[in-house]
């Protein structure tokens, strides 16, 4: 069963997601960062649908379980494409947008193939095991790809503060989730990793809302001042 803290985090996440969409519209960042805002829109829709299914069928129902994991993998794929949207913005001047899209699809297909290879011996609920595995592995792949993007940003001396903060916040999100899933494998009965995963859901809306609201599009920043360990 969900406890009051779970409900509080859920409601807060939902409100913050709506807040991000409001901030993006108000500061005219909605179309500029369309893939990120589409992800937020999908997250809002998933929250509403999950709550409706929870109310109708109950927390322990298979309908809620299936919907939760299938919507989760859809959200993760959407966030993966949001990340490729950031790649496209960084490499826009090089005219590499097409290669980025092809690369993203190749990585997605390869990750799906690896996940399928991992779960193919499952006798029951092969598709469900597959989507759970895909969602978890995509978070790790997302963390690696964000790391590569951040390295490219530093090498190319990208200065757009909004872009830098969006990439870094996405990096925190992906790597925290990847660590949380790994903790769940190492300590299956620990409630902390699940709680951490729930609380991490707050991170992206908070960070993106702050960036859209407080950082103007014209703001510039030297990446040399930002890198961990730099003086």
């Amino acid at each position: 069963m969900l406890n009051p803290l779970d409900y509080a985090i859920w409601i807060l996440t939902f409100v913050l997601e709506l807040g991000v969409l409001y901030c993006a519209l108000r500061t005219r960042n909605f179309l500029r960062y369309l893939p990120l805002n589409l992800y937020m829109l999908l997250a809002v829709a998933a929250d509403v649908s999950r709550f409706a299914i929870l109310e109708h069928y109950g927390y322990t129902s298979s309908a809620y379980t299936y919907f939760y994991y299938y919507s989760d993998v859809l959200l993760t794929i959407c966030l993966f494409f949001a990340l490729t949207g950031l790649y496209s913005r960084v490499f826009k001047e090089m005219g590499a947008a097409v290669y980025v899209r092809i690369g993203a699809i190749v990585v997605l297909v390869l990750t799906a193939a690896v996940c399928f290879a991992m779960v193919r011996h499952s006798q029951h609920r092969l598709a469900t095991h597959f989507v759970i595995e895909l969602s978890q592995n995509l978070h790790f792949v997302g963390a690696v790809l964000t790391y590569v993007l951040w390295s490219a940003v530093k090498t190319l001396r990208e200065t757009r503060t909004q872009l830098i903060q969006l990439i870094l916040s996405l990096g925190v999100y992906f790597s925290a989730f990847a660590a949380s899933f790994a903790l769940t494998v190492l300590y299956p009965n620990s409630p902390y990793s699940w709680f951490a995963a729930g609380a991490m859901g707050l991170w992206l809306p908070l960070a993106w809302g702050y960036t859209f609201l407080k950082v103007p599009e014209s703001a510039r920043l030297a990446t040399a001042r930002v890198s961990a360990g730099a003086r």
């Binding site: 790391y147 830098i164 990096g171 790597s175 190492l186 961990a228 003086r231």
Partner: protein, 135 residues
Amino acid sequence: MILTAALILALSSVALLQFFISYCRSMIAASSAVCLSDQIWEVTGIESRQLRGEEFIRILQLMSLCPDSGGNSGAVSAVRTYFRMISFVRSTLRGVIPSIVSWTDAELSGCAHFAAVALDTRISRSRELMSQQYS
């Protein structure tokens, strides 16, 4: 399976730390370009007009007295975590690596400047709201 999970945990934790530090530093660096108004020096009582890391906690206490209407509490929490991390590094490694003190001091004063900018914004907004109410 366990070995893979442990490897993913280790790699993800290192990446998480790097991303989080860089994210906090990006916010601090962005705020460093903002000049503080006279009201901040009056409110904090800092006559030297030089912010040091030690002022960070006091500025946060002052901030808690001021209503947050700008929605920067999440960012302040992130920088507070970064401040604690740097303070921990400073107190742990200062005996081993003496040169780290100057770097941590610069980082901590950056945190204090970030908090002062956030406080400045809150005070200005509160005064605006009050003047709107009275007019």
